[in-house]
Symmetry: C2
């Protein structure tokens, strides 16, 4: 009525189309990540996604351009899902040991009830692409490296506060990652003893 | 000439055919394991192997029966290759800590220079099949379990001799497996720091 006009008001059709495109893109990328967690990134193709989602191949091709872009979008969405589930909610804890323990708790939450149907996206795709150089491996490696750096920084903060001293922060981060990945494998293979064992090793690593 | 006849001498044609079939079977299974280490067990098919090896699909189908039998044969041959490279040559060391260290040394040898083009067969296939129940997952799980049991038994022998005491043998075996798998991932991703870090963690685990 009397509200000031905005750029959006002037082109409602274009805006709505852009918003709809962004929503479609996000939901397709998320489904691609779900498929990749079970069947690997090589199982993700424009044709496969079109069939699964009941949309046209040309529609997906318009949104993503190529199979590789679709696979890269799956890696990106998986990274966001992990960050939203594990990292972001832990940031409200005090920096140092409390935040580190919150991260590890939520990380084990992803072991027990993974956000993806095939379990941890990172574990699945590292094993799949570790021997295949290229943009997909680079994106997977960058994601792993970034999370390891985040962990190391949190461990260093804890050390500055007098906890977990006596060992290199990067080494503790590496060992945490190794043991929680093994917990994930154990969980997926139905090995409850392995999950409990990993938990006890991690509790010991983070005890002070 | 005057040598006594054997059953083989009486049916040379049949024996030679059987021996040739066994050799063909072994070489096809080995190639299947090579392919699976890079592209996953789902990349192993009778058609793919026939093309790679320049033999007929019907020939491979006669030797293996089904795609699943071919995949199971790949798991079996990978297990034999690992046993031959890591376990068997270590058995000449004295039981306990010396043998355990020999196993771990050869295991790291497989990290640095894997017997398969895609790296560790076990790491690759566990990540691929952990969320797909069935005979392939069962075979992969049995292989992992058997090696973990072997490791635990060797650790227990070392403990009976007064080494590595104070921790449960199964827990040490789990942690060794977790850290060496992470070393393998690091090696495959070109992360030399990760491999050296894994080595230092394992040396610490086995120090006594």
């Amino acid at each position: 009525m009397s509200e000031p006009k905005t750029a959006g008001d002037q082109q409602p059709g274009a805006d709505q189309r852009l918003a709809k495109g962004a929503r479609s893109r996000a939901s397709i990328a998320r489904h691609a990540a779900d498929v990749a967690s079970v069947e690997g990134l090589t199982g993700v193709s424009i044709g496969r996604l079109a069939t699964d989602l009941g949309v046209s191949k040309s529609g997906i091709a318009t949104l993503f351009g190529s199979k590789e872009s679709l696979q890269l979008a799956a890696i990106k969405v998986a990274r966001e899902v992990f960050t939203d589930a594990v990292v972001t909610p832990s940031m409200s804890e005090p920096a140092g040991l409390p935040r580190l323990r919150a991260v590890v708790e939520r990380w084990f939450g992803q072991v027990a009830a993974p956000a993806f149907p095939g379990g941890c996206f990172r574990v699945a795709t590292i094993a799949e692409f570790d021997s295949r150089p290229g943009p997909l491996r680079d994106a997977i490696a960058a994601d792993s490296r970034d999370f390891a750096t985040f962990l190391s920084n949190e461990i260093r903060l804890a050390q500055e506060q007098g906890h977990l001293t006596g060992r290199n922060a990067d080494v503790i981060a590496f060992e945490l990652g190794a043991v929680i990945a093994a917990a994930h494998n154990a969980q997926q293979m139905g090995d409850e003893w392995g999950v409990a064992t990993a938990r006890s090793i991690v509790d010991h690593l983070l005890s002070d």
